[in-house]
């Protein structure tokens, strides 16, 4: 073994001399791959946006145009002004209310609960933690039928409550924030305890300010999840004015399959807030996702 290692070491300098050229080639090949992939990922989105600004005639032409030949906002006029059947602007407002509402509820309830689970002593703590976290592994489909029936009993069907509240019960927020609180150094709280500050005061004045990035990340993930939610809203919202954007897009597609410019205008309305939020807070979203992954 030693001999082999020695032999290899003796050849090391020559391979080191070759390295720069190989490294440059690697980087070059990587760039080619990266740019090719970028086209694959961006082109469909560009086509969506461009189609939204076409006339119906151009949108349904066989020869595709990536930049509209006769740019037109007719599709947006149509979905924003006309139509009691497809009130896209109303869906946008509904989606905003549901997504912001749910994200706020998730952050508030999960922060309180996660703090208790991370830092307080009480009976049943271990069991409660295990039960809450383990629901992350339960396939969500089993909740669909009973949730529908519960929403029916609460008379929340066909209202925004139906798509705002149930999703806030998910355990992901508690899980993420508990991880985060456990990792915070305890010194600061201990100082506050010595000052005889109340637990709520410690939470509010000491813990929350330290947790802003974690809370922002959770807010973003919760917002995006709700904004994009499709299955539940599709089945618990019925009247056109009660829909959120995702089931609305389904309705738009179902009501007129050939008005692609109108469907794409709707898709653009659903895409822009999510994409803008992602671009502004890219780091938070990506780090949030990667910590979920690693720690999960």
């Amino acid at each position: 073994m030693a001999a082999v290692a020695d032999e290899r070491r003796s050849t090391a300098p020559s391979s080191a001399e070759r390295r720069p050229r190989r490294a440059i080639l690697t980087i070059l090949a990587s760039y080619v791959a990266l740019i090719a992939l970028t086209i694959v990922f961006v082109a469909p989105l560009v086509y969506m946006a461009s189609t939204a600004f076409k006339t119906n005639q151009e949108a349904t032409r066989i020869e595709p145009t990536w930049v509209p030949k006769e740019p037109s906002t007719a599709a947006f006029d149509a979905i924003l002004n006309r139509s009691e059947q497809t009130p896209v602007f109303r869906w946008f407002v509904n989606s905003m209310i549901a997504a912001i509402g749910q994200a706020l509820i998730v952050v508030a309830t999960a922060a309180l609960a996660a703090y208790a689970l991370a830092r307080m002593e009480f009976r049943g703590k271990r069991l409660m933690t295990v039960v809450i976290i383990s629901t992350l592994f339960v396939p969500p489909i089993i909740f669909l039928m009973p949730t529908y029936l519960i929403l029916d009993k609460l008379q929340w069907l066909d209202s925004l409550l139906a798509v705002t509240i149930p999703g806030a019960a998910g355990a992901l927020g508690v899980f993420l924030l508990r991880q985060f609180f456990v990792s915070l150094p305890k010194e600061l709280e201990e100082a506050a305890v010595l000052d005889a500050a109340s637990p709520f005061k410690i939470f509010w004045r000491v813990i929350l300010p330290l947790s802003k990035p974690a809370l922002a990340t959770l807010f973003l993930l919760a917002f995006l999840t709700n904004w994009n939610d499709f299955l539940l809203p599709l089945f618990v919202l019925f009247s056109p004015e009660a829909l959120t954007l995702p089931p609305g897009l389904g309705l738009l597609q179902g009501s007129d399959t050939t008005s692609y410019e109108i469907i794409m205008a709707g898709a653009v309305v659903a895409t822009v807030p999510a994409l803008v939020l992602f671009i502004i807070a890219q780091r938070f979203v990506i780090e949030g996702v990667s910590t979920t992954g690693i720690k999960g």
Binding site: R61, L234, L249, G293, I294
Partner: protein, 326 residues
């Protein structure tokens, strides 16, 4: 994480005088401070636990109860039928059993074809992104971008792109000399190619980001050591990268299997289950059975059988790929 243990106390001790209480092993071991206890903790937990009870605990139990009934929302009576809903699913002569296993088969086909792609391709992308070069974060963001769009946007967008007559996919296929009238949404195997392809496009960036975080956790020194030992590029991948990624790999495989097995929106919007019901997935059937035909008992039974399958698959994945103890 990882800043527990004695070092914390030492650092604290160095900063300012501490009461003996804080150094006591019990408190350190439990990882708690005396920030609050007893009923105050329950007060903190109350809002979340209310939600958790009403929308997680109660549905889980209520769902089982419903599955033991012929629970038709349109009928006044919901008679107890015991295990009949389950028995029907395993009776291949019954229409509902037939539908169910067709949907399970569709789900399995989709999972078998999408998971390997979604495990391997994002790893390749992450390996490229893990090098030092300009614009790394830009590319990472671009590949992740489709994931922040909902399945509804993805569905209607790809319905347009895959349109057999005016879609750009067929248009460019013709340009490169391939067939130009593939019925992506209404024929086999093209419907599966379309659904798998769209899903890979949509979620590749998500898996890549998780891989990338895992790659960055692997110590550089290990690579340096392997280089010194003369390991080739492939050797370093095989003996440093892969072992270092094992937990991340297990995680990715598990979540990707679960996500694929829960596929719904793509099929609902792009193929509508066509041709026939060939691409109708289990989730799609359950939703239709329960919330369109209002046979909630039968749908609940289906959802538990599916859930059992998924949990078994996760367990198998976990044991196959778990860390081997030396």
């Amino acid at each position: 994480m990882g800043s527990g243990g004695p070092s914390t106390i030492e650092r604290v001790g160095g900063g300012r005088p501490l009461p003996p209480l804080i150094g006591s092993p019990r408190i350190r071991a439990r990882g708690t401070s005396s920030a609050g206890s007893g009923w105050i903790a329950y007060l903190f937990l109350a809002p979340y636990l209310t939600l958790f009870t009403v929308f997680v605990v109660v549905p889980a139990i209520y769902g089982v109860w419903v599955s033991f009934h012929s629970w038709d929302l349109l009928l006044p009576n919901k008679p107890w039928v015991g295990l009949d809903n389950y028995r029907n699913l395993f009776d291949t002569n019954s229409a509902v059993g037939d539908d169910f296993w067709n949907a399970m088969k569709a789900t399995a086909i989709f999972t078998v074809f999408s998971v390997p792609l979604l495990v391997v391709l994002p790893l390749g992308v992450a390996l490229i992104l893990n090098q030092k070069f300009r614009g790394r974060n830009f590319f990472r963001a671009v590949y992740f971008a489709p994931y922040v769009l909902g399945v509804a946007v993805i569905g209607v967008l790809w319905t347009l792109l895959l349109d057999p007559n005016i879609g750009v996919v067929n248009y460019y296929l013709e340009k490169v000399g391939a067939s130009d009238n593939i019925a992506w949404t209404t024929s086999l195997p093209w419907a599966w190619v379309a659904l798998v392809g769209v899903t890979v496009w949509w979620t590749l960036g998500y898996n890549a980001v998780i891989y990338l975080a895992g790659l960055q956790d692997i110590s550089r020194e290990l690579y340096e050591a392997a280089k010194v030992d003369g390991a080739s590029r492939w050797g370093r991948f095989r003996h440093v990268t892969l072992p270092g990624l094992r937990p991340v790999l297990v995680f990715i495989i598990t979540i990707t299997i679960l996500a694929s097995a829960n596929m719904f929106g793509q099929a609902y919007l792009i193929t509508g289950g066509a041709p026939g019901n060939e691409t109708r997935t289990a989730i799609m059937l359950i939703a239709q059975e329960g919330l369109q035909n209002f046979r909630l008992g039968s749908a609940a039974a289906m959802s538990f059988v599916l859930a059992l399958f998924l949990m078994l698959v996760s367990l198998v994945t976990f044991f196959v790929f778990r860390e081997r103890k030396v």
